[in-house]
């Protein structure tokens, strides 16, 4: 067992690519991702309230500002930069862009990841379910309705209807 306040090497799998990074164990996953140049993950509130720093860790949505990097060791991480190979996420990107689901863009990566996290588990969500799934992601531009509709439309497109 290691006990240390020293920097050490962590093995992360980020968007399918194995990465070894040197970091302090308590360093926020958010910061480590951004040091890696993955600046699609945004810092909003820095205290787990706004969802702008959301990423998927082993398929689960988490806020990376509240996750020490040591807890992500060995996990598969997906950030907004890594979603392009996936049909669900591609549909979400399209419907957000087409329907005005993105304005200033700060919340968008987190919204897309939260939306994809929902559709993975529930391919045909109701608007109520979409609202709940995105309730941890704050947007100060759109008023949310276009975002909810973009997720609903992405669900329809993925279902081929």
């Amino acid at each position: 067992m290691k006990t240390s306040a020293q920097k050490r090497e962590f093995s992360l799998n980020v968007n399918g690519v194995p990465r070894n990074i040197r970091a302090y164990p308590a360093e926020r996953l958010l910061d480590v991702l951004r040091y890696l140049g993955l600046t699609g993950t945004k810092e909003g509130c820095g205290e787990g309230e706004c969802g702008a720093c959301s990423v998927l860790v082993d398929g689960r949505l988490v806020v990376s500002c509240l996750m020490p990097v040591a807890q992500a060791e060995g996990a598969k991480l997906l950030t907004i930069e890594g979603v392009t190979g996936n049909q669900r996420f591609r549909s979400l990107q399209e419907t957000f862009a087409e329907g005005g689901g993105a304005q200033c863009g700060i919340c968008t990566p987190g919204m897309i990841l939260a939306g994809g996290h929902l559709l993975e588990r529930n391919p045909a969500p109701t608007i109520e379910e979409i609202r709940e799934a995105l309730s941890g992601n704050l947007c100060r531009c759109t008023g949310y309705l276009q975002i909810f509709e973009a997720v609903a439309e992405a669900a329809r497109r993925c279902a081929g209807t």
């Binding site: 996750m67 929902l118 709940e132």
Partner: protein, 296 residues
């Protein structure tokens, strides 16, 4: 100002046994961290006093939910999502699933743990009143062995609890005897997700038909955010149990409930508002009981 990660030691034991050993080595120095949804907020604010994290996130022994004939044992490291996805909890302890569903948002539910919620001991925590009405026990563990305590007596004052510095919460035990009960929970806050409750309530009860009237049985009510600890409303319960459910009784119980809390005025609400809301929520619970009975 945000904490400097270079100042924080990190121990990552592979087993619970190893974890309690590390903790026993210097109990006042280590800070057990599971999902980090509270501690990392304090880390961000630079308010953590301790500088040594003991990682217990994802320890297999803490992250399991086992149904036994008499009780459900929920590992302290189970996340809110684990609670929401568990069939026994959904069927027999619906208040726990429901309160988990409005704790934080989905991302925080994927990380926040039930044991962490207990140990963080916020009087406003959403899931703690549910544990109280279900008569939960806690199993605490250390190198000295395990001990089992009643959850209702666990919180002894604001952020003070019946937990020795070398102990970890291992298991939350729920007696499986509430399946026929009518349950009720509500969170009053600026919004359901993320916002911290101004008042939260969880309650269960049964109604038995006497020859002419409905009698209340085993009514259990607990509230959060209205005292230094999550609070069981014993006076109100006593006025209700084995009594007919009528308007005079409801009035009496609501008044008693509002009188036995110790609300404060803070940035989220005022003491006066909280007392009125507790009164209203107890009434809504009793109305719910009556309405459900009529539906049967």
């Amino acid at each position: 100002m945000r904490s400097n990660p270079a100042e924080f030691e990190w121990a990552a034991p592979a087993t619970l046994e190893e974890a309690v050993k590390v903790l026993a080595g210097d109990p006042d120095a280590w800070l057990p961290i599971a999902g980090g949804t509270d501690l990392m907020v304090q880390f961000a604010a630079g308010t953590l006093e301790r500088r040594r994290f003991l990682n217990i996130w994802n320890l297999g022994e803490l992250r399991r939910i086992d149904g036994f004939p008499g009780e459900l044992q929920v590992g302290a490291g189970s996340t809110y999502t684990d609670l929401r996805e568990n069939d026994i909890i959904t069927r027999e302890f619906p208040l726990l699933g429901r309160t988990a569903s409005w704790t934080g948002g989905i991302a925080n539910q994927n990380r926040g743990t039930l044991g962490g919620n207990v140990a963080n001991a916020s009087p406003a925590a959403d899931s703690l009143p549910a544990l109280m009405v279900y008569g939960a026990d806690l199993i605490l563990t250390s190198t000295r062995g395990d001990r089992r305590v009643r959850y209702e007596d666990f919180h002894t004052g604001y952020k003070r609890m019946n937990l020795a510095p070398d102990e970890l919460i291992r298991t939350i035990c729920l007696p499986r005897r509430f399946s026929g009960y009518i349950s009720y929970a509500r969170k009053i806050g600026t919004r359901k997700a993320q916002a911290i409750a101004k008042v939260c309530i969880a309650a269960v009860g049964r109604l038995a038909k006497d020859s002419t009237q409905l009698m209340l049985e085993d009514v259990r009510i607990a509230v959060g955010s209205v005292a230094p600890v999550p609070l069981r409303l014993r006076n109100a319960e006593q006025l209700l149990n084995r009594r007919p459910l009528d308007e005079a009784r409801v009035e009496l119980a609501c008044k008693a409930a509002a009188a036995e809390i110790q609300p404060i005025s803070d940035l989220r609400s005022t003491a006066k508002y909280r007392a009125q809301i507790v009164n209203n929520l107890v009434r809504e619970f009793l109305d719910t009981l009556a309405a459900r009975e009529r539906e049967r």
